[in-house]
């Protein structure tokens, strides 16, 4: 009983109470959800390889998009450099690398557009031509849609940066966005492997 007052003092083990960042956890959740969506599209693509009854086959019409792939994967590196510069307050370097990221992403998207133009007008492949067309445009298009969303966000931040409204304190937000961009790049590795290597 004498000790009870001592024992009843709560164990203040939470003197330093640190919780994970909301932005990071939220983005990880979003990435998990997006991964599930992409997984279903990849499964649909792989399941249907070689099942088209008619029309062009992947090996007839697809070329390896090497340059576009190099551009997109490099943009992950430039994004990392941009965020790193922003966190350290080097705003000039941030704007430079951010712009390079924007440019590389745009090149990738333009290259996808050119590929689609070629497939549609030279080979007559559309979504409704055959099963390959359906699965190919859906999977690559879903990825291109995610690139477009990312580029839109990068463009908005670029405009804000040019107006000098982006500062070192926005580093955390840029970092969370960078997670999305890296994810989109990682998905491209899977799409590239499945569409341009395995099925060709």
């Amino acid at each position: 009983m004498v000790l009870s007052s001592v024992i009843n003092a709560p164990p203040s083990s939470h003197a330093v109470w640190i919780l994970p960042s909301r932005g990071r956890v939220g983005m990880w959740c979003l990435i998990a959800a997006e991964s599930a969506v992409f997984m279903i599209f990849v499964v649909a693509y792989v399941f249907n390889i070689g099942k088209s009854n008619s029309g062009p086959q992947p090996k007839d019409v697809l070329d390896l998009p090497v340059f576009a792939t190099v551009c997109l994967l490099s943009s992950s590196l430039t994004m990392h450099l941009a965020v790193h510069a922003l966190r350290n307050g080097r705003l000039g370097a941030f704007k430079l690398w951010w712009f390079v990221t924007l440019a590389l992403g745009t090149i990738f998207l333009a290259s996808t557009g050119r590929e689609w133009y070629r497939l549609i007008y030279e080979h007559g492949l559309t979504v409704s031509t055959n099963l390959f067309g359906t699965t190919y445009y859906s999977l690559v298009g879903l990825h291109a849609f995610h690139v477009t969303v990312g580029l839109t966000a990068i463009l908005v931040a670029m405009v804000l940066a040019v107006l000098n409204k982006v500062h070192a304190e926005h580093g955390e937000r840029a970092d969370v966005f960078a997670m999305y961009w890296h994810f989109v790049d990682a998905v491209w590795v899977v799409v590239f492997t499945v569409v341009y290597v395995v099925s060709r």
């Binding site: 709560p10 956890v25 959740c29 979003l30 599930a36 009854n53």
Partner: protein, 557 residues
């Protein structure tokens, strides 16, 4: 008494114009208001889905009935299933989660309040799209036409050739839109639970409701996303002439089944795990004992979460999978009953030797325990693929899953409603009407769904709009439909009690149940900011520690 309280049932709210009141509710990002919006929206949809079920049961009350046409019957079972799963069960559970999670983890709001509002309005918009199909399903000419492809919408029924007009488009867009809302809610739940806990609330000291909703959030992310992807594919097929599910062009109808059930089975656990959470909060308080086996409960829930991702094809035993596929899904389905059984023992262990108070929330939870056990047992029967071949697509299956969804899920939702109603409104519910609700609904439930198993075993297929007399199904269908009217009477008692309590209920006080979790430490209804000072907790039952400083829980945990 709480002059800063929220509007519903508030006791001395300052006068405001209808416009201000409406703007307040429409533009709100407060988790409590959004939670109440979710719950009210779901209750409205519950009535609509219930009317659809009643129409079906009246049609089936006697053989060769002509109450509705076969076409209307098809629309009714499609709309009933879609409504009850996507626009009643999910939003009402999200509503309770949205309302309770920040309060129970000691936070002032969700992690992303605006995303929270977006999620609710996407869900509400999805429901409106679904019901707009009655008007716009035929493309705004001729009579209205709701979707009639069944709630799992197997290919090729959903192809342009078999679903002319726009009814199936409304169905797929409604699911797509509300699915995006659900994923937003799940992101919010997980982030709130991981990142917004008050000081001292380590993962091991979280209320079980928070733990179980964390698992639910993960399941929603992993299960609803594939459904969203499948709906995008269906849109591609219907709008752009794609061939995903078009067997004539080499596509696969079975692929749709897999994609749907990869969502469909975890979805059952998305619905039932929050109900486990309600039971895990209510049963201890009304047994006056802490929950029995907290770590086992958490582990069992996480185990259910994992295993539930690998049981989906038990919905597809009849499509002709390989014997390895059948064996795998039989075994995983039987395995998932183990952690589920552990939970039932935990709740019974909590009640064992407790001082049980038979108030309405506890009555509903006890009903849940018995009915969930029976639902689980018929589930184990159906998990065995040879047995399943006999009974697949029969009323036995319908009876089984309604035993889960009504007997377990809806019962605990009603229990949760009565348990947290005093917190949400500031007023006590009417105990007499609540007890009447329980007993009427219990009798109606058992009349309907106990006896529904029998015509299933006697070979009555689901989704038929009528049947021949003299097959031995007549009496059972009559009893089943009679049960529906008891259920309706129970729901009327519920609505009457809700309305009476909103306006005439006794003021509840902050902590009417002498409970132990943080939501009871603030006023009823809670102020906009939830807690004047952010609480600090030392154990799983912070209010017990506060009320019993001589014998606090943290000494034993």
């Amino acid at each position: 008494m709480a002059s800063e309280s929220i509007a519903i049932g508030a006791i001395d709210e300052p006068r405001q114009s209808i416009g201000e009141w409406l703007t307040g509710w429409v533009t709100t990002v407060d988790h409590k208001r959004l939670g109440i919006l979710y719950i009210l929206y779901s209750l409205l949809m519950l009535v609509i889905g219930g009317v659809e079920a009643t129409i079906m049961r009246i049609q089936l009350i006697v053989p060769h009935n002509h109450f509705v046409s076969p076409e209307v019957f098809n629309r009714m079972f499609t709309m009933h299933g879609t409504t009850m799963i996507f626009f009643v069960a999910m939003p009402i559970l999200f509503g309770f989660g949205t309302y309770l999670i920040p309060l129970m983890v000691g936070a002032r709001d969700m992690a992303f309040p605006r995303l929270n509002a977006l999620s609710f309005w996407l869900t509400a918009f999805g429901g409106s799209l679904l019901y707009f199909s009655f008007v716009g399903g035929n493309g705004l000419y001729g009579a209205g036409n709701a979707p009639d492809v069944g709630w799992f919408a197997y290919a090729p029924l959903t192809s342009r050739a078999f679903s002319v007009g726009h009814s199936t488009d409304f169905w797929t867009l409604a699911i797509l839109v509300s699915g995006i809302g659900s994923i937003g809610t799940a992101v919010n739940f997980i982030t709130t639970i991981l990142c917004m806990r008050c000081p001292g609330m380590t993962l091991g000291k979280m209320p079980l409701l928070a733990w179980l909703n964390l698992v639910t959030g993960g399941l929603v992310i992993l299960a609803v996303s594939p459904l969203t992807a499948a709906q995008i594919m269906l849109c591609v097929d219907r709008y752009l002439g794609g061939h995903f599910f078009d067997t004539q062009a080499g596509g696969s109808a079975v692929l749709w089944m897999h994609f749907f059930w990869i969502f469909g089975h975890p979805e059952v656990y998305v619905l039932v795990i929050p109900c486990f959470a309600f039971a895990s909060e209510i049963i201890p308080v009304f047994s006056r004992k802490p929950i029995f086996g907290y770590p086992v409960m958490v582990a069992a829930t996480v185990a259910i979460g994992f295993v539930s991702m690998s049981v989906w094809a038990h919905h597809m035993f009849a499509i002709g999978m390989s014997s390895y596929g059948n064996t795998f899904f039989t075994v995983t389905t039987m395995i998932i009953s183990v952690p589920t059984g552990i939970k039932i023992f935990n709740w019974i262990g909590t009640m064992w030797g407790g001082k049980i108070l038979l108030r309405a929330p506890m009555l509903f939870c006890i009903g849940f325990l018995f009915q969930f056990l029976i639902a689980g047992l018929t589930g184990i029967m159906l998990s065995s693929s040879p047995f399943n071949w006999q009974l697949t697509g029969s009323y036995f299956v319908v009876a089984h899953f309604h035993y889960v969804i009504v007997g377990a899920i809806l019962f605990t939702i009603f229990g949760a409603f009565y348990y947290w109603f005093p917190k949400m409104s500031g007023r006590m519910y009417h105990e007499g009407l609540a007890q009447a609700h329980f007993w009427l609904f219990l009798i109606g439930f058992h009349l309907t769904f106990d006896f529904m198993h029998i015509p299933g075993i006697l070979g009555m297929p689901r989704r038929i709009y009528t049947y021949e007399p003299g097959r031995g199904w007549d009496i059972w269908n009559l009893i089943v439909t009679i049960g529906v009217f008891f259920q309706i009477a129970g729901v009327l008692a519920f609505v009457a009690g809700l309305l009476w309590s909103m306006f005439k209920g006794q003021p509840a006080g902050d902590d009417p149940w002498d409970a132990w979790t943080l939501e009871w430490s603030t006023t009823s209804p809670p102020p906009d900011y939830n807690f004047a000072t952010i609480p600090v907790v030392e154990s799983r039952r912070p209010l017990w520690d506060l009320k019993h400083p001589e014998d606090p829980d943290w000494k034993y945990e």
